[in-house]
């Protein structure tokens, strides 16, 4: 038998042995993962749309999905979803670019205050850095300011107390302020604000910029939370549109390639940072596009299932199955409303004692 480096490589290093005669759902491109998430680790998530799937699955699993802005108990599940509570670990909406993440961290610690920090929409007020977080924006500037302060405090707490930060890199394209480089998640004018070429400029990050943004962010995170570990993923969701003058498929491949390269460089050069290949699981040719929906963008549930099964197999001490959901953490039992109802009922009944009821005296 010939002696060369490939001869001693494990099966997963061989394309043929990784895919031949292996059912699609059993393909496992993770191979090995250098980190173990325990059920008691506080796992926080942020990033692009695909991160929402990870967040949803973690929440439903027996793991500790760490949320510092869960929404007040008075709010129904429906209201919480409408107002962006619990979608991610804090109420920041989608964070598509590493520049956004780096700036969010700096804003939390007072190191960056964007000049363009509020948009008006008729009588309402929008947060340029999470413009769709509420259905119609904020009802007053005072509410907007109070909520933002509360939000940034919640994000600070998330950074300082998390054990694992799962970040899904989504895009390299984006619009920023010419004045101070503030990165908007959505181009001004789309969900709010007004696009002004004098004030806004399109940027398309290169791999080195992504690496730098993430490195600066990780250094900052470690300063406030030395035990923090980071898991990076790349969103497999193609660009909805490109601002480059070229085909959207070319821009998608460029963007995802940059993010994939950057993720590897970051993982290779930082301790306690790992790359999890959800991108490969969803986009790999082995599944012949089966994990994309009819629009070729949305990720099918089966794809998310495949990703999470491998996540639980390789990144946790479970055998590929999520542990049964833990019972919901006990909320402080609140009796204020029941007490108020009871106290009010007493006085209301007393008030009406002297009034002739409709239809005559009571039984």
């Amino acid at each position: 038998m010939a002696d060369h480096p490939y001869a001693s490589m494990p099966p997963y290093a061989s394309w043929r042995r990784s895919f031949q005669d292996i059912p699609m759902t059993e393909v496992d491109p993770v191979a090995k993962f250098p980190m173990t998430v325990s059920p008691t680790d506080k796992v926080a998530t942020a990033g692009s749309c695909f991160a929402q799937h990870i967040a949803r699955r973690l929440r439903a699993s027996g793991f500790t999905y760490f949320v510092t802005e869960p929404g007040h108990p008075l709010l129904s599940e429906k209201l919480r979803a409408e107002f962006g509570y619990g979608v991610f670990s804090a109420r920041f909406g989608n964070i598509y670019t590493t520049r956004q993440l780096r700036q969010l961290f700096d804003r939390c610690y007072g190191r960056f205050s964007p000049v363009e920090d509020m948009w008006r929409k008729g009588a309402r007020f929008l947060d340029p850095f999470r413009p769709t977080i509420q259905p119609d924006g904020f009802a007053s500037e005072a509410e907007f300011r109070a909520d933002r302060a509360q939000h940034l405090a919640a994000v600070r707490r998330m950074f300082e107390e998390l054990d694992i930060f799962v970040f899904t890199l989504g895009l390299t394209e984006g619009f920023v302020s010419r004045e101070d480089g503030a990165a908007f998640p959505v181009c001004p004018g789309v969900a709010g604000g007004t696009f002004d070429p004098e004030r806004h400029i399109f940027v398309n990050e290169r791999a080195a910029e992504v690496v730098e943004n993430m490195s600066v962010f990780i250094a900052g995170l470690r300063r406030v939370n030395p035990r923090a570990r980071v898991i990076l993923t790349v969103s497999p969701v193609p660009l909805k549109a490109t601002a480059e003058d070229r085909h959207v498929l070319q821009s998608t491949v460029y963007s995802k390639s940059v993010l994939r390269v950057a993720a590897q460089e970051i993982a290779d050069s930082h301790a306690d940072v790992a790359y999890f290949p959800s991108y490969e699981i969803i986009t790999g040719a082995y599944n012949r596009g089966a994990y994309f929906g009819p629009d070729l963008r949305e990720v099918e549930e089966a794809g998310v299932e495949h990703v999470m099964r491998l996540f639980f197999r390789h990144a946790t001490a479970t055998a590929g199955e999520a542990p049964p959901p833990a019972p919901a953490p006990p909320r402080k039992k609140d009796r204020s409303i029941a007490r108020a109802r009871a106290a009010t009922a007493v006085v209301c009944d007393e008030e009406l004692l002297d009034i002739e009821p409709v239809g005559g005296a009571e039984d």
């Binding site: 006085v347 009406l352 409709v358 039984d363």
Partner: protein, 233 residues
């Protein structure tokens, strides 16, 4: 003198008690009794049949409604275990309670609206009787947390002054409640009568001479309301 045809829940009582002070005759029809018993928050058909009969017999020119009013107390009288507050858009400088979670105004509004839905249904039913209806605002909140705590402690001894929500927060919920009623009435061509200006202090709270219990005005308050409504009757 025209008799004021009044229908409603417990806030109706202040008006009934104030009739003699204001020297204005009142017919007060309370939404209680076996005919008015709730079935999933609705009043029975027998109740509405009786109200229709009264309207047909007495032929009022207006019906004054004192429907609802429990929402502000329910949501805001006692401090929640996770205290919350919100910014009222038309009074954004009112203070936020220290240590409370700020909820979106729209979310609080949605919660209050959901709570008031059955009151809106009742107003609709009343308006369908064919006589102009005027819904009357509930009294503003009492500013004195000590007074409220003593009152509630009579039935809930564990409640003390620290259990009562800050006055500004209670005021905001009351005002939101009034705004929701007023907007609903406007959308249905139902009249809406705000409180007589003299019952509120400079900060909008109920003046002490009009306090009844934790949520209701007294007979003097009822008389002030009646004197104002008389102009509309």
């Amino acid at each position: 003198m025209t008799t004021m045809f009044c229908v409603g829940n417990s806030h109706l009582a202040a008006v009934a008690k104030g009739a003699s002070i204001a020297d204005i005759p009142v017919l007060a029809l309370a939404m209680r009794h076996k005919l008015a018993k709730h079935k999933e928050g609705e009043l029975g058909e027998a109740f509405w049949a009786k109200i229709s009969e009264e309207v047909a017999t007495r032929k009022p020119t207006r019906i004054f409604a004192f429907i609802g009013g429990g929402t502000p107390a329910m949501l805001g009288l006692l401090r929640h275990s996770e205290p919350f507050d919100f910014v009222l858009p038309d009074a954004p400088t009112l203070p936020l309670s220290e240590g409370s979670t700020v909820l979106p105004y729209d979310a609080v509004r949605a919660i209050a609206s959901a709570h008031m839905r059955r009151h809106f249904r009742r107003l609709n039913r009343l308006a369908a009787l064919g006589v102009p209806v005027v819904q009357c605002e509930t009294p503003p909140p009492v500013p004195d947390n000590g007074f409220l705590a003593r009152h509630v402690a009579q039935t809930h001894p564990e409640v003390d002054v620290a259990s009562i929500s800050p006055p500004a927060m209670r005021y905001k919920i009351w005002r939101l409640h009034s705004q929701l009623f007023e907007q609903f009435c406007k959308s249905r061509q139902i009249g809406y009568a705000r409180n007589p200006p003299e019952v509120a202090d400079a900060d909008g709270f109920l003046k002490q001479e009009y306090w009844g219990d934790i949520v209701h005005g007294n007979a003097r308050y009822g008389a002030a309301v009646l004197r104002q409504l008389k102009e509309l009757a």
